[in-house]
Symmetry: C2
């Protein structure tokens, strides 16, 4: 007998009929002899309706009350699912975040889980209850309701799995699992069977569609096996787990891209200590996140300083940067809004230096110019002209053997 | 400076626009130098939508989960109202029943309040916060969410007023107050300025429209002044308070009627001890409430036994009674479904024996036959032919001086 935590998102519980389907799925697992904890989100659309009400009341809703408001969405779903399970003859009991309790810090709308009590839930599990938990929400030390941010139900599920030492945390979603790249632009994209926490974190832009990044950090910290799978079929999905020998032998696990960034280059800046800080501090003061940063080698005492920001922040960032550029006597500020960032991720590259070279060669072979490069231990990202994005993803996907043929480290 | 508890029902908070109006009303009271606690219901229609979802899931929703479900309605309103107050520049804080906490027994859907903690709310009041409380809901000793039954927000408000020793509990509703009788059938119905708890309890059928009966019991027990008033204007409404000399001098305060009962008469029952019990036990076993009971004087060792039940219970009650009537050798069972019960209520009749006689004379004067009579210390009820209901109410209303002219005890 195992303890299984299952999480169903808003689409999976979006109607009474779908809640019935979830109930069926839950009791299948239960009837197979497992203990089951189900974590659910609000019915799809419900949260948006609540947010619309808040925005109708005022432009900037109070953050404490905002969390009280949106937390009511999951309350509806847990009650309906528990009712459904009971009407099918099963013992079931719903829990709000505050009832377990799932204790968080007091950062409304993006609270972090600090502690989960296992006492009540364990007692109910021993009594063979199916436990239905409201995802996305918790309670701070003073008893205020908090929420964990969009996608927070994933984190709730993983955290509960960790606290109760579950054997597996199943995240049911509307895709089959995590893919080697976006199937929409690459026909040969394959479902990844098994992937390490670190790779999953780097594959954020692929994973974000199916898994909140914070939930992966949690899973890594507490060593929780996370099984990302479809709520529409019984196919095995992707297992996110701790790394093993097999994973390390794979050079590249996945390829991601992001088209939502823009580039700002400050040209011919006098190369003195503190230039980077002078350029970047005003941006962080304005709450603008800078992604990639490149400062090239100094030439005649001058350097070029290039960075990317999201397109949403671009205008504001440009305005600020132009002002600073004048202050520090830069020659010019250039921009490019049609760029994209393509990344390859894999544990294998940690021990194999040739991966970056291979990537650059493959892109060069297609005549794709690399404008910026940034690397982490298991990721290489390049900025290229946006129009080459799909081409770059496809050729890299093929060259690194993700289209079926394994490229292993010798 | 006073502590004022204000309660607004579902209609008063039924839209964002109406919530804004409630907020305006609340801050008027606050700006006048008072501390304010606002108790709100769910937005009108919200609870019905939730109940519909539950009924779609299954025929008999689990009672614990049902309360979790419907309690989410008030959660939405408190958040929106608190947001609105804060956006207007006021300090405000919302509280769920479980956060105060309002501790109840564990009878889901009709829980009774056992204890209200004043600690957190007092601290927030001292800090000049406007407190916004979710009506209708509480939490049992084990942390399960409970609800108090339809209209339970009135009881929440009165109980909170009692716990925090508020100066007054204002119940805002869609009528101006409690009337001497139903204005729909009697043009001369007057708003009552002041009425005692006991009279209000007896005027249940008038009061039920504006005040949950249990809230009056609570108000009586803890001596809470309840001001029933309109949320659409500033007119003084009806004060429900402890009785005083002035009230005792009024013979009749109000006249009520009920058309939802039916009569069952068991004819010529052998008059032996235990007959009443034999007839009534099977009814209470079947969960049927009997309202008025009349057993007339024995004649030749036989008696007639007559009682009324609600029309909803009538068929079932008749079936049971016919069976028992056979067992105890009654001659016959007769029924009448077109009856009504007309009652006059007033503290003055406690010390004045002539009131009943006067009532009977007035009805006789109109040719209205009295079929059954039942009295309490401050109420006289008669069962008459339903077709005379409106006539009876109007002549009694006039004769006992409720149409403007006071009839006082000499």
């Amino acid at each position: 007998m195992a303890l299984v935590v299952q999480k169903y998102g808003g689409t999976s519980v979006g109607s009474v009929e779908r809640i019935r389907n979830v109930a069926k799925r839950v009791v299948e697992t239960y009837d197979a002899g497992n203990d089951v904890i189900v974590v659910v989100s609000a019915m799809s659309g419900a949260t948006n309706k609540l947010v619309a009400l808040a925005n109708e009341i005022c432009e900037f809703p109070d953050s404490r009350e905002y969390d009280v408001l949106v937390a009511s969405g999951e309350q509806v779903t847990i009650a309906l699912l528990a009712m459904c399970l009971k009407s099918m003859g099963y013992k079931a009991k719903s829990y709000l975040g505050s009832q377990i309790p799932i204790v968080t810090d007091d950062c409304y709308s993006k609270a972090r889980i600090e502690k989960i009590s296992d006492k009540k839930v364990k007692a109910d599990l021993n009594d063979r209850n199916i436990i239905v938990v409201a995802g996305f929400q918790g309670v701070d030390k003073s008893g205020n309701i908090t929420t964990l941010g969009r996608g927070g139900s994933d984190t709730s599920a993983v955290a509960i799995a960790a606290a109760l030492k579950a054997d597996v945390c199943e995240i049911f979603t509307d895709v089959d699992g995590v893919y080697t790249t976006d199937p929409n632009i690459c026909d040969n994209a394959r479902k990844i069977e098994k992937i390490s926490y670190d790779e999953m974190l780097e594959l954020a832009s692929l994973g974000a569609k199916v898994l909140q990044i914070r939930s992966v950090q949690f899973a890594k910290k507490y060593n929780v096996d996370v099984h990302v799978r479809s709520s529409f079929n019984d196919t095995t999905g992707t297992l996110v787990t701790k790394e093993d020998k097999e994973m390390e032998s794979i050079l590249v696990s996945g390829i991601t891209y992001a088209k939502d960034e823009a580039k700002i280059a400050v040209m011919r800046v006098p190369d003195k200590p503190g230039i980077a800080a002078k350029l970047l501090s005003p941006l962080s003061d304005a709450n603008i996140s800078v992604d990639m940063i490149v400062q090239n080698a100094s030439e005649d005492g001058y350097t070029d300083f290039t960075f990317t920001v999201t397109k949403a922040d671009f205008k504001k960032a440009l305005m600020i940067t132009k002002k600073v550029a004048g202050d520090i006597h830069a020659k010019d500020v250039q921009t490019d809004e049609s760029i994209s960032k393509v990344s390859i991720v894999g544990l294998g590259m940690r021990t194999h230096a040739g991966v970056a070279t291979k990537m650059f060669q493959i892109l060069a072979g297609e005549g794709i110019n690399i404008q910026m490069i940034s690397t982490s231990e298991i990721k290489i990202s390049v900025v290229i002209d946006a129009k080459y994005t799909e081409l770059a993803v496809r050729v890299l996907h093929e060259a690194f053997g993700l289209s079926g043929r394994d490229v292993r480290v010798d």
